[in-house]
């Protein structure tokens, strides 16, 4: 007779160490790698045109004091329509004040002009703060000042050397949550999918083992969903300014968890094991099919604050640069493997309890 258990537990151990290795690397890289430098605050944020303007800039992860001669600043209206700072005074590694002359006429006509602050430093690279200052039009307009807008260009900018995550406005350090929040949902949906697959197996073959497996995957999937919701709420506190803002994505994921919680409640109120298994299999498949419009279609049809909806960027484009990809993909794989491993353990303990 063969001994498949030894072989299986060896595979499980190998799986465990692979998961641990990937996740430890993800945690270290996710927490330790610094952010690129950026701009946090600009004062004042309103000014009138046709005057000298001195703005105080607060940087983040910046080192203004080194190499002050190569520090340049621009205010950008659009494209190449920029004005360069006439003088920059550095007061600390994170503070400087830049002096601009805002021309009294603009190439376009608006109620107010939002200007983007661009900062270039030989070591920190380029930092950008969109809509940094709002300019109100001048009372007396001098059309000869129009050419001031086209005198300078943003050119020969620097890149910061080394491995860093991008600095995004508002997100700042919370960008690291990408490695923990997003993989939770990937893992949850895969665990629920595997569970529905085992339910289908139970439907076809009626072996109680498949029911044990499917319920183990649901249990672990619920944990991952709950963690995804909590990490999302923490993130929302920093970026949307509230833990819960009744966003469609938040609601739908909470409802998805409610559906599976209802399944657990239903299971606990059935006495007979076969009955329990059959009802679980039926409801589980039904719920998983309805989960697809709930999680993937309805949020895309509605306005949402969440990335990936309503024109907000998500995993594509410039939000996830190559440095982040190097951590993000292992994180996704690692957390999915962790979920599968945990479900295996839950299944095994349930089986041992059932045999007693």
């Amino acid at each position: 007779m063969q001994e498949p258990t030894i072989h299986l537990s060896f595979r499980l151990a190998a799986w465990k160490w692979a998961t641990m290795g990937i996740l430890i690397a993800v945690f270290i890289a996710g927490w330790i790698v610094p952010l690129k430098s950026g701009i946090i605050k600009v004062t004042p944020d309103k000014a009138a045109a046709g005057e000298m303007l001195v703005v105080d800039v607060t940087g983040y992860n910046s080192s203004f004091l080194t190499d002050t001669s190569l520090l340049r600043a621009w205010l950008r209206l659009s494209g190449d329509t920029v004005i360069m700072a006439t003088r920059i005074q550095v007061t600390g590694d994170r503070n400087l004040s830049a002096r601009f002359y805002i021309p009294s006429v603009f190439p376009i006509r608006q109620e107010a002009y939002p200007l983007t602050l661009v900062l270039d430093h030989s070591q920190d690279g380029t930092s950008v703060l969109p809509n940094a200052i709002f300019i109100t039009p001048a009372l007396a307009q001098d059309t000869s000042e129009l050419k001031l807008w086209f005198k300078d260009k943003i050119e020969s900018v620097h890149e910061k050397a080394g491995i860093q995550y991008p600095f995004r406005n508002i997100l700042a350090e919370t960008i690291r949550n990408t490695y923990f929040h997003v993989p939770m949902w990937f893992a949850m949906i895969i665990l629920f999918g595997v569970s529905a697959w085992y339910s289908l197996k139970y439907y076809q073959q009626g072996l109680i083992d498949f029911d044990r497996k499917s319920i183990a995957f649901i249990k672990v999937g619920l944990i991952f969903g709950l963690l995804g919701l909590v990490t999302g709420m923490l993130w929302a506190k920093y970026t949307w300014n509230a833990y819960w803002s009744w966003d469609v994505k938040q609601n739908m994921s909470a409802i998805a968890l409610l559906i599976y919680a209802a399944l657990m409640v239903m299971r606990s109120s059935v006495e007979d094991d076969m009955q329990k298994a059959r009802l679980t299999a039926g409801y589980n498949m039904f719920a998983f099919v309805l989960l697809i419009p709930l999680l993937f279609i309805i949020p895309r049809m509605t306005d949402s604050l969440h990335p990936g909806n309503g024109g907000n960027p998500a995993l594509g484009g410039e939000d996830l640069d190559n440095t982040m990809r190097m951590v993000f993909y292992p994180a996704v794989i690692g957390f999915i493997m962790l979920g599968l491993w945990m479900s295996q353990l839950v299944y095994r303990t349930d089986k041992l309890k059932g045999n007693q």
Binding site: I255, S269, R278, F286, L290, I298
Partner: protein
């Protein structure tokens, strides 16, 4: 088909013999509308639609909960020898569909009398009501058939059915907003397509799963 209609007729006869059944539903609609009015005092168009569907949902839950509880188990065993499970299921669904349509029309009438009419596009609202009743009758019949096998029938029906209703409800609310002219959206076909595809998912899944769940 005739056999199914026969079952529906039996169902209706059992229900109508007990006079509290239908009048209970009407009273439920009336009293919940009164509660809503004493809270809101008046109902603008947007709130009208929301209130309508909230009352409708809870009324339908209340009405449908006793789908499989009306007859005792011996009767089902007898049915099981006579009818295919799908025939029984279709009969229950058709009866529930009639109930839900009855609730829909009663509730519309009550809210019409009490809060005035806010529906501009009658045809759209009626279609929405039909679709909602169709989808919910399938969904609720399946869920009650699961819940009847457990110990707490009524509460579990609500717990399991309410979250599953939400994808339907969201589209229904949007269509209602279109029917009452409270949304700038001028193309309701998207929502209609969405609603009908979710409903066909529900119908397909419940037709597939019911014979399996019922076999015990």
């Amino acid at each position: 088909m005739n056999r199914i209609l026969n079952l529906v007729a039996i169902e209706a006869r059992i229900e109508l013999r007990e006079r509290y059944a239908l009048s209970g539903i009407v009273l439920y609609v009336l009293s919940s509308s009164f509660i809503v009015f004493s809270i809101w005092k008046q109902l603008p168009a947007k709130e009208w639609g929301l209130t309508f569907w909230v009352i409708f949902l809870f009324c339908s839950l209340m009405a449908v909960v006793k789908t499989f509880g009306r007859e005792n188990e011996g009767r089902y065993f007898y049915y099981y020898t006579l009818y295919h499970p799908l025939e029984l299921f279709m009969a229950k669904v058709m009866y529930n569909l009639l109930l839900l349509l009855f609730i829909f029309l009663t509730l519309w009438f009550v809210l019409y009398v009490m809060a005035g009419n806010h529906i501009i596009r009658m045809g759209w609202f009626l279609t929405t009501g039909l679709m909602a009743s169709l989808g919910l009758s399938f969904l609720l019949t399946l869920i009650t058939s699961i819940a009847i096998k457990t110990q707490q029938n009524a509460s579990l029906t609500a717990v399991m059915a309410l979250p599953l209703m939400i994808p339907l409800l969201i589209n229904i609310l949007r269509l209602t907003a279109y029917a009452s002219g409270t949304t700038p959206d001028e193309n309701p076909w998207n929502e209609m397509m969405m609603l009908s595809s979710i409903i066909s998912l529900v119908i397909g899944m419940s037709l597939w799963l019911f014979p399996y769940l019922w076999r015990s």
